[in-house]
């Protein structure tokens, strides 16, 4: 038996185990897996190709919208994180809204793959305030592939957030949004014009410097990288150093991947200054979450309270 058949069996087995854990909630993924690879594509609702702007807007119901983008690495074992997220979405929303951690949260989900090897390297949803976010989450295609060079196309997703989002929070109130990238590898060394053309349909020329891109995105977005203990890269020094150089203390090391929702909620609460760590951990205990310890550890190095409010400058995000 050659590697091909083995790899097929291995892949099929992984899918059986996923199904046993309820991956069938992700019907879009299950449907695509039954088709030949050539037909795999992002759902039109999540396809970033040719998208001008994703908008987070105030409404009568949600007059003070706070945009929150949560982008998952969906390669390899990281595909478990969206499933954890899906199971706890209600809890996240409850903490943010009912506990008043943040005003009018609007959450956008997205999936990150490897633009060198994956059929679907980037998926970007819409900012949603209600249970449409659950539907969006379940529509993310968990391709589960990835290349294995210890890098995924996080920078492509970051580029999208930096250049293809517009928010009332920033334009009307000069307030940043939140960007959480959940993954276990490094950025690609450069973002090439070819990738921008291929994935986003942009008539791009020249490549984008990754460090400069993270500087740019942080002007409008409080940006965090969550590294869950879901793969061997959790302890990889190179991966950690890579993200520390880009985001400093906003690299969050999470011992237990099952705590990702709680971590996002508390990170926002602390940054907003609406809750302190002790209070947040009490909240977790009260809602029956057993993940306080992992969350406390992940947040140990992060400064608490008082978010930065940027000077109001509606054109600030246009600086190139």
């Amino acid at each position: 038996m050659g590697n091909g058949a083995w790899s097929d069996n291995t892949y099929r087995a992984a899918s059986t185990f996923r199904r046993a854990r309820g991956i069938d909630d992700f019907t879009y993924t299950s449907t695509l897996f039954s088709l030949p690879q050539a037909k795999w594509a992002a759902s039109p609702a999540l396809d970033p190709f040719g998208v001008g702007m994703r908008e987070s807007r105030d409404s009568a119901e949600h007059p003070n919208s706070t945009p929150i983008a949560v982008l998952f690495d969906v390669t390899g074992s990281m595909g478990a994180v969206p499933r954890i997220m899906q199971a706890k979405l209600g809890q996240l929303h409850g903490l943010l809204q009912r506990e008043g951690y943040v005003q009018d949260p609007q959450i956008m989900f997205g999936g990150i793959g490897d633009a060198d090897t994956d059929r679907v390297p980037l998926q970007i949803g819409q900012f949603e305030s209600d249970n449409r976010m659950d539907e969006q989450l379940r529509t993310i295609f968990l391709e589960g592939n990835g290349g294995g060079q210890k890098s995924e196309s996080y920078e492509l997703a970051t580029y999208f957030i930096a250049r293809h989002t517009v928010t009332d929070a920033w334009e009307k109130r000069g307030r940043k949004g939140y960007l959480f990238i959940v993954g276990d590898e490094m950025n690609k060394p450069v973002l090439t014009a070819a990738k921008l053309r291929q994935v986003l349909g942009e008539p791009a020329r020249g490549q984008v410097d990754v460090a400069a891109l993270y500087q740019e995105v942080q002007r409008r977005w409080d940006t965090y990288f969550i590294l869950p203990n879901q793969s061997s890269y959790f302890t990889d020094r190179q991966v950690r150093e890579h993200w520390r150089a880009l985001l400093g203390e906003r690299l969050l090391l999470l011992d237990d991947p099952a705590a990702v929702c709680e971590l996002i909620a508390l990170t926002i609460g602390l940054n907003e200054g609406t809750v302190d760590l002790t209070g947040g951990l009490d909240d977790l205990r009260r809602i029956g979450s057993g993940h306080g310890k992992a969350v406390r550890k992940a947040l140990a190095g992060v400064g608490t309270g008082r978010r930065m409010i940027a000077p109001f400058d509606p054109d600030g995000d246009r600086r190139r």
């Binding site: 038996m1 050659g2 590697n3 083995w6 790899s7 069996n9 291995t10 892949y11 099929r12 087995a13 992984a14 059986t16 185990f17 996923r18 046993a20 854990r21 390899g76 074992s77 478990a80 589960g144 990835g146 294995g148 203990n229 879901q230 793969s231 061997s232 959790f234 302890t235």
Partner: protein
Amino acid sequence: MTAHRNQVPSDRHIIVVGLGFGDEGKGATVDSLCAAGGAAAVIRFNGGAQAAHNVVADGVHHTFAQFGSGTLAGVPTYLSDRMLVEPIALAAEADELERKGVRNALSLVTVHPDALLTTPIHVAANRTREDLRGTGRHGSCGLGIGETTWYDLAWQVRARPGDVVQNLTSPSIADEPALRVRDCRDPAVLQRKLDALQQFYAPLLLRGGHGAPSIDAMASLYREFAAAVRIAGDDYLTSLAQGGRLIFEGAQGVLLDEWRGFHPYTTWSTTTPANARALLTRVGQPAGYVLGVLRSYQTRHGAGPLPSEFSAAVGLLPERHNGTGAYQGGWRVGHLDPILLRYAIEACEGIDGLAITHLDRRGSGRFVMGYQYRGHRVSKLPLGAAQDLRHQSRLTGVLCDSTTVLQDLPQQADQFAAQIGDLLGAPVVLVSDGPDRKNRT
């Protein structure tokens, strides 16, 4: 059937072992014990995914490999620490069972954290070694079972390149402990052990055409396995025993036992009831009732001695579920051989009852009275000292060099079964005269 026959006790743990070279009907026996009710779990205590235990229940047929043969009767499976677990095959078997109507099959399985893991790397190594042996093959199933056990032994002695451990040559330095089910829960350990295993076998695998999936793919799969399947140790076994009786399902036959079998045509596994007895003692349970299973004739898969071989019978006794495996070799049958069977019972340190299967096809209707070996009459194979492979090789020599003296068995099924009981000195408590559960009484 006769009203006087002894029964399997309903209030004891049962240890089911095969008294031949495998294929005795252990699976069907376990299924019928489970269908009778009162069973809390089926426990696997030896071997691994190479088992092929056929069960036909209400028209549904399944060949059980890692799932216990009580699955169709709704009885959960516990894979103990003496079992070798192969997650890829486990998932495939779960899929197959679900297609046959078993719902949430994986939820029926619990695995001991200390069980050794068989990986595609072990399988590739096993097949490469068998290929290199050419015509001197050992009759391996080619599923990496022996290789899994062997690597653990090689690590225990920290084998160096070229060292011979239990007849197999070490391709590299064995300096990383064997992969176990518990490691699937720890990504860093999992990665390290898979890397080490691949490096360890690289020089051997270079000599053949067998490969394995990428380390990333395997690591990811094993993490999914650990997340989807319940992993629990001795406490869980204790709690199972509180809910009913335990049925221990032996894999392979006693005559293939690593120490009591006919060297070198053996398996890398303890096929006697020893492991099951030890497990019961370990969790503070009373001794089990040992049920020895045999067919009404002898069978063997692949190479190795079968003194009563009767090749004309292969055509007369069509096998529904046994064929010729690429690595295992052909299917063979022979006259019922009480000398082998009594030896098996002695190797078990005694049994409590017999289950006789295939009474509807009673082979040649004859049994072996004795062997003619170099002018001597042999009617007993002596049990050697513990772990004396030289003794086991001598037995192999005797068996290969013997002709058999045969005698007729009674025509009538009842008397046939009764005479086997007399020949083997144990009560016949179960018989079957067909493949289905309803054929078992």
